[in-house]
Subunit: 351 residues, 3 copies
C-alpha cells in the first residue's frame, strides 16, 4: 500500500498547540515533534535526539529552541544542535531532520517529501475557524486501521445507506444511485443530487421532500472538502443535474473539512470540522451536527477497524470492485502513479 | 501442530442464536459468520465480504439472506451474492465460501473439511438440553492457548489430584492409578473405578467410602462425553472392574458434554454442559455442579495458559511423556494420522 | 545487545520469599522459579516442567522439594525429578536446569553462567538491611525497556539536571561538569564534587552553600553502589578534589544499592534500596528519601521507556556520544569484552 510523500499531511490543529508546547505524532512511520516556540512559530522536527534517541517531544521549549530533557542537548528550529551541556565542540552531524510546516485553515500541515518541493500552493483549500462564512466544530479520532481504508470509505458514499442509516439518516438512494465523478489534478470531485426526499438528520424543519445537492473534493494525500444544501423540489432537474446556484439554497448549507493522516502501518488519525453556513444555522445547530458526526464517525470506525482485522487475517486479500468504486479506483490509481513517480526519483509533483 | 479438517466443530449453542441474529467465530484460523435466517435455518459462511473484506457478522439478516452493512451486498444462504445495490450485473465470482452446518444436541456443528465428505453420522453423540434424562447447565470459556493443550488436559485425568484438589475435591488416587484406555474408531474410551473413597464434591450425602465409576469417550475433533456414578463399596470388584449396571448406582450419576474448538493458533473456545440424571438430582444440584465446574475450569485455564506461555517462550519445546499419557498419545497419534491422510489428499474418514 | 552470563543477577529480595513460597522471574530470557524450601534454603530452577512444560512456579513446596501442580511430578532442589505419581521408573533425563543461588546483602543472587565458574566473591558488595550503619527502604520497578538503557542512565548522571530537576532538585552543574571516572576490574568508579551549592532535596536544613561529595561504583552485571555526603564549603579544594574523610561530613550521608536485571529482550526489573547513615538521619528521613526516589525513578522510567520505543521504531539506531558518555562507553566496552570472551568459550572471569 503506497502513500504519496510529496504532500502536506495534517499533524494537528493550530489552536491545540500553544506557544511553548509540543505535540508528538508519527506520520508515515516517522516520529515527528511539532512544537511552537515562545515567539509563536510552529516547527516540525524528527522526534529523536541524535545523542541517545530520546524523544524530543518530552523536551522543553526555551525561547525559539527545544531542549532534549534527557541529557540537555538544545535544538534550533532548523534541527541543528546548538548546545551540548559541558561540551564545547558540537559535531557537524549533530542535527535532526526538519520538516517543512505551514499553518493554514486552522491546521498544522507537514510536508513529508523532498523539502525543495514543498509548495504551499499544494495545501488543500480547507475551511478553518478563521472563515467567517461558517460556524465550525472540530473533532478527531484515532483508527487501528491503515489510512487508505478510511480514504476508500470517504471516496464512496454508497456506505451511507448502511453504515449511517441511524446517524445521518441516509436513505437507500445513496447506495442505489451513482454520483458524477470528475478527476482533478490532485484528486477527484464527487457531485450528486438526491431528489424528492426529506432532508437528512440535523436539517431542522426540512421534513418535506426536497432536492439535496452534495459536492466534495477528495484531495492528495487524503483530504475531503465538502459542501451542499437543500433546494426546492425540481431544482436538480432545472439545473440539468449540474451544480446549483448556492444562493438559492433553502437550508442545510454546511461545510466539512476532513483529513486522514497515516500514522504507521495499520494506524491513522482522522481530523474533521463541520458546521453550518452563517445564513443557515447557529452554534446550537453546529453542536447538533457535531453530535451526529461523533455518532456517524464512530460507526465508520467500528466497520473499518473490523475490515482491517479481516484483511490482516487474510493471506492474500483481494477486493471485488463494484460500480460504486469508481472514485476509489480513480483516486488510488492517482496515488499509485504519484508514489511510483516519487520512487523512480522523478519529482513529478507540480500542481 | 495438526488438526483434522474433516470433522464437526462446535461453533456455539443453538439457543444462543435467535432467528435474525449472527455470531462470529474463527475456527482453524478461518473467520466464519454463523447466522439464523428469519425462517429459523442456521447457516455458516465465510465472514468476509467479497467486495472490500468487511465482516458479514456486522451484517443484517433480511428474510433468508444476510446483508453486508458496509456497502449493502446481499448474500444468500449458499454464499452467493444476490444483490449489489445500484448495479445490475452480479459477477460469477461474487460468492463466499459456505460451510456445512448441522444443529444437534443443542450445539451448532460446522464441518471444516471437504463439503462432499460432510457426514452428520460423524457428529459425536453429545447430550443436549432436549434429552429428558438429564438436567443440564452450560458454560463456555475462551483460552489464550491452543486447543491441543486443552485436549491433552482432558485426555489425562491424573491432573485432577493437583489442579482440582479444591474444586472437585479429587483425591491423589486419580494421579496414582491408571484408567483402562481403549481405542475407538474416532477417539479413545477412558474407564476407571476409584474404590473405597468418599464421593467427590457435589455428590451430597455421600461422604462414606464408596466405589466411583467414571467413563468417557474423547472424540475427534475434541469432544468429551462423560458419565459415571457412585456405587456401594465392593461393586467394582464384583464387576471385575468392568462397567457396572448403571441402574444400581446409589447416586452421583451425571453427564457432561465438552467441546474444544481451535479458534486460531494460540486460542481456543471451550464449551461445556453438565448436570445430574433426573433420578439423581434436581436443578439445585445442577447449579451446585455448575458452580464447581466454573471453579475447576478456571483452574485448568490458569494452568494451561501458563503452560502455553512457557511453550511459546521455549525455542524447541520437548515433552517427556509419563505412563499417565497413554490417552494423550493414542489420541494425538490418531489426529496426526487423519491429518496426514487429509494432507495427502486421501479422503480417509469413513466412521 | 550483549549481556554477561558469568555474573550474579538479582532475582528478588530475600525478605519477599517466605519459606514454602515461590517467585517466578525471567532472567536473560530464561524462565526461573526461585523458591524457599520449608527448611529455609532458597533454590533457583528452570521454571518449566520436563513433562509437559507447565511452570513450576505454579507448584507447591513440600519439605525441601517442589511439586509441579499440573500432573504432580516432584522436583528436588538440584532439579532432579524424585517422584512421578503412579510410575515407578524415573527416566535419567527427568531433571530441569538448576542455577547457583546465593543470598547476600538482602538480595537473592542467581548465577546465569557456567555453574563451575559461580564464585560468590564476584557478588557486588551491596548494603543490605543487615548492615547496622544504614536505615534503608526498598523498592522495585518493572521497565518496558531493555536493561542496557537503564544501565546507560545510571552510568551518566548528567541527566540529573534535566530528568530530575524537580525530584532530586539537581542543579545544572551535574550536566555542565564531568566526574572523575576510574576503571575497576568489573566496572567503573564515578566520583565528583559539586561545590558551593545548597544540598539537594531531602538533605534537611542544608540550604546554605556546601560541598557535595558523591561516589559510586557501577559493577557487572548492572549494580550501582553509591554513597556521598555534605561537607563544609572549601572541603573539596582542601582534599584536592579527591575523596574526603567521611567522618567530617556535616550531613547527607546515605547509601543506595541498585540492581538492574534484564528480564527479556525489551524488559527489565529495577531493584533499589536507599537510606541515611544512622549518624545522619532516621526512619522519617528514610521515608522522605524513598518518596523522592519513587518520584525520580518514575521520571527515569518515563524517559527510558519512551527512548526504548523510539529505538524500536528506528531501522538502524545510531547514537552520537558526548563527553558525558565516558562512563557509558567504558562500562559497555567491558560488557562487550566479557561477553565476547564467554562466546568464544574462554572462561575469562576471575575478578
Amino acid at each position: 500500500m503506497s502513500y504519496v510523500r510529496n504532500a502536506w499531511y495534517v499533524a494537528g490543529w493550530s489552536q491545540d498547540l500553544a506557544a511553548g508546547e509540543r505535540l508528538a505524532i508519527t506520520i508515515l512511520g516517522e516520529p515527528i515533534v511539532v512544537w511552537r516556540g515562545e515567539g509563536g512559530q510552529a516547527v516540525a522536527l524528527e522526534d529523536r535526539c541524535v545523542h541517545r534517541l530520546a524523544p524530543l517531544s518530552l523536551g522543553r521549549c526555551e525561547g525559539a529552541n527545544l531542549r532534549c530533557m534527557y541529557h540537555g542537548l538544545l535544538f534550533a528550529p532548523d534541527g541543528r544542535v546548538v548546545e551540548i551541556p559541558g561540551q564545547d565542540l558540537i559535531p557537524a552531524q549533530a542535527r535532526v531532520k526538519s520538516y517543512p510546516l505551514v499553518e493554514r485553515h486552522s491546521w498544522l500541515w507537514v510536508w513529508m517529501g523532498a523539502a525543495a518541493a514543498a509548495d504551499p500552493a499544494l495545501i488543500p483549500p480547507a475551511v478553518g475557524f478563521d472563515d467567517p462564512a461558517y460556524i465550525l466544530g472540530k473533532g478527531q479520532l484515532d483508527y487501528a486501521a491503515e489510512a487508505r481504508l478510511i480514504n476508500d470509505n470517504l471516496l464512496d458514499f454508497s456506505h451511507l445507506s448502511y453504515v449511517h442509516a441511524n446517524s445521518f439518516g441516509s436513505s437507500e438512494t445513496w447506495a442505489r444511485t451513482r454520483p458524477k465523478i470528475t478527476p482533478l489534478p490532485r484528486g477527484i470531485r464527487v457531485e450528486r443530487w438526491i431528489t424528492g426526499e426529506p432532508g437528512m438528520r440535523g436539517h431542522v424543519g426540512q421534513d418535506d421532500p426536497l432536492d439535496r445537492w452534495s459536492t466534495y473534493d477528495f484531495l492528495i494525500p487524503g483530504v475531503l472538502l465538502m459542501t451542499g444544501g437543500n433546494f426546492a423540489e425540481g431544482t436538480a432537474a432545472a439545473c440539468g443535474f449540474g451544480p446549483p446556484d448556492m444562493a438559492q439554497a433553502q437550508g442545510g448549507v454546511t461545510f466539512t473539512s476532513q483529513a486522514v493522516t497515516p500514522l504507521d502501518k495499520g494506524s491513522a488519525r482522522y481530523f474533521f470540522s463541520w458546521g453550518p453556513h452563517v445564513d443557515h444555522g447557529d452554534a446550537a445547530l453546529r453542536d447538533m451536527l457535531m453530535g451526529i458526526a461523533d455518532q456517524a464517525f464512530g460507526e465508520d470506525k467500528v466497520m473499518i477497524e473490523a475490515q482491517q482485522r479481516v484483511i490482516a487475517a487474510t493471506p492474500d486479500p483481494q477486493v471485488m470492485p463494484t460500480s460504486a468504486d469508481k472514485g476509489v479506483i480513480l483516486f488510488n490509481r492517482l496515488v499509485e502513479k504519484l508514489a511510483r513517480g516519487e520512487a523512480a526519483g522523478a519529482a513529478t509533483l507540480a500542481a
